[in-house]
Amino acid sequence: MSSEFRYVGQPVKRFDVDKVYGGALFASDIELPGMLWIKLVSAPYSHARIKRIDCSEALKIPGVVAVFTGEDFPYKVGIYAADRDVLARGKVLYYGHPIAAVVAESLDIAEKAAETIDAEFEPLPAVLSIEEALSPRAPVIHERLGEYRRASFINPVPGTNIANRVKLRKGDAQKAMEDVDVVVEETYRSDPQSHAYMETWAGAATIRSDGTVEVWSSHQSPFAVRNLLAMSLGLPVSKIVVHHLYTGGGFGGKAGLLLEHIPVLISMKLGGRPVFLQLNREENFYYMAQKPGFLFKMKTGATKDGKLVFHIGEYYLDAGAYADYTVNVIRSSTFMATGPYEIPHIHVDGYAVYTNKVPTTAFRGFGILELTASFEQQMDILAEKLGIDPIEFRLKNALKPGVSITPTQEVLAEDAGDPAGVIRRAAELIGYHIPPQRSEEPWKVRGKGIAAAWKGPVQPPNAASSAIVKLNEDGSVDVLVGTGEFGQGTIIALAQIVAEELGIPVEKVRISPYRSTDLVPYTWQTVGSRGLYSDGQALIRALQDLKDQIKEVAARAFNVFKDEVEIRDGKACVVGKHSECIPLERLALGYTFPSGETIHGPIIGRGSHVPSGTTYLDPETGKGNPKPFVTFVAGGVEVEVDLVTMQVRVLKAVLVTDARIINPGLAEGQAYGGILMGIGLALKEAIGFDEIGALRNPSFLEYRLPRVEDMPVEMIFESLNVPQRNAPYGAKGIGELTALPWQAAIANAIYRAIGVRVKEYPITPERLLKAVKEQRPDILTELRKIMVGV
């Protein structure tokens, strides 16, 4: 692909260099003249009635401007179900739940005043696990669940803690149970985990004198923030402007509306004064939604020749006190149902369940992380029971584009990609069938494992995007798009497409990373690995429009027909005549004839895109087409288990995708980032709760993120470059995909190393030791002999 194009497929350098040279602006850098600081006050109970909140002492402190409590803001927010109070009202629903907001002249004063807030609570029995939440005797956390505004496809069960219930039915799984030779029934779990983006949330708001609400905040999707503010607070869209600066990481955790409504509502109460809220790290663990914990039960059957026949699942996500995107995340897990394999009979029930824990939301992978972590262990267990090689077993059942029927009962598109190809290549690259080298230390044992996954954007059928391209009088181009920049570098890939289409140097394409909703065209959200695909499609249409106008003007200048004009190397030329060319700069503002007569005026291209053919899903069966495209990946790892410390180190990781790549430098960055995040989720990261529901580890000292020392010795990323139809240069998204395979691949590798299977993430030394004691106590006996020998 590289030779065909000048820019597409090339590792064009990022142009957001102010991040490296200095000068980059994040929401946390915002300082507005006369800005007041907000400090939230949190409750020390996980479930309690609020009896009294006394703010009088705080109000006496000089510099304190106001204190607000839940009753001041009678609004409900939430993207798919409006379940969230601005500040707790009536009840607190989790330990750390904000009950008041202090506003002061400085953060110092606000912090001091916050300590004086005196509140009284009546504790209620709390629900701290999925199992407790589902018990018929469980206290109901959201008593008015049935009354919440919600999207049509969200089905809460009022009177229970079920925030959403989802069904997938394909074939007849109950009946098919009779037709199999081997059945595997297992349960997989994970603790809640954290996005742990480096920029804690920050947001500022002010109200202009004409009533316009202006917001600067750390978010992924400026238009989603605008839309949800409008919907939740009853404001007209025309009166909201959301400013997007650089955002310091998101990973799904900054996908929709975050806490923007708090500064907005406070500014409204204070006559439009600018106010600012920035969370510290501990607050960010409590006030920002995290990745839900999960409990996935699965029963999967196959015939002895290795064909998957049925799959029955009960998938539960621990939604915490507020479910935000999690009600849709469970739809994603349920509707993908299994890994990238064809199974004729599937029956899955998915539930997002409220508990008295920190709120949860989307996380890179959107439900497919949980699914892959579970189902890809299930595949290895089945393969072993069948006596079939795990790779062969996967290849035998891999989805076939144009042939296979997906879990939502659609034929998998012919251009869907190469599910078998990625598995085969990942197995080759990790040397799956070559025994690992023995470690020099006899208490360290190595093993190799693999996992595969598939995913597409989870979005409504009308998830649109648009783009505007302006030709400047020096032949350069300004591009306006709505997608957010929080590290992925989509705007660099988009610039490459512009340079390619117009034959101009990529340095002549300008796409500002900063944007405001009143100045750039709409895009639905920057989520689901959809940015390059969706905004890219809109951009290609805008470029077609632009080129069409250039040709029209040039044709009149040359006095030829429009189709006799071509655009190459930044010039409009008569086809086949090298001498008759006009540089684009001379057409940017229209064309001026020698007489002075000028035609057309400035050239501006515009394009819109909405995916064709995606539909809502049948509520009873899930039938329908939910995704404009899917991407396939497979990952292989070699791990080393230290039987003395029970620590697992990933020595090598290989990732293969089928996606076409616009910029290999950016794609590799996603891949390595996904691998390290996957290692963290697999082995290290867990949000811990104590017996009353307080977080045990709201810091980076105790919530342990992967560091340089956790980097595998070798990481390989490869793409099979399968073109996607109706996509910009055949490209599709990989951002989330790169994080998917690692939990299961590592668990499978541990099993192949020491014969111990851990079905609960993260696989910490404690959990691994417990599993070794239960499953292979002989290893410890053997180890004792070795150690004494040493």
Binding site: G487, G489, G673
Partner: protein, 158 residues
């Protein structure tokens, strides 16, 4: 109290409170926004700056303690708007994504090129281990450091 700091070669005199962190003084009183808070307790290394030739987490130092010291932030690596080789190496090797931790890594890399020009992979890793990044998976950051070291050893860029 009044302290004086040399920041990126310029002498700054500033009034600070006795309990004020160096991080907050650089960021809010002197307006150097590249010095960013990640955790405020020394776990993440994002607020790293160079103080008198040493890598320092500016959230763990009181501004008063830094009185009289010479401080370098990422803005101080460029001369006359021309980025330093270390900065160019980060662009060349895709050594950043969201950019929030980037100044800390660039300054750490700068310190390595100044003090450990022949550093081994293990030595580089040991120093870089003090800063957390959630986006990159570190590979391209390590590549950036190695490229900067290579340029340094070969006496100039490429």
């Amino acid at each position: 109290m009044r302290i004086s700091l040399t920041v990126n070669g310029v002498k700054r005199v500033v009034d600070v409170k006795p309990n004020e962190r160096l991080l907050d003084v650089l960021r809010y009183r002197l307006g150097i926004k590249s010095v960013r808070a990640g955790c405020l307790v020394g776990d993440c290394g994002i607020c790293t700056v160079i103080v008198d030739g040493k890598l320092v987490k500016s959230c763990l130092v009181l501004a008063a303690e830094a009185n009289g010291s010479n401080i370098v932030t990422v803005e101080g690596l460029s001369t006359n708007m021309r980025p330093s080789p270390v900065q160019r190496a980060f662009v060349e090797s895709f050594g950043y994504q969201c950019g929030y931790c980037t100044p800390a890594f660039v300054l750490t890399a700068h310190w390595i090129t100044e003090n450990m020009v022949n550093a081994s992979d293990e030595e580089i890793a040991r120093v870089l281990n003090s800063v957390v990044c959630r986006c990159t998976g570190y590979k391209q950051i390590v590549d950036s450091v190695k490229l900067a070291l290579k340029w340094r050893r070969e006496g100039g860029e490429r």
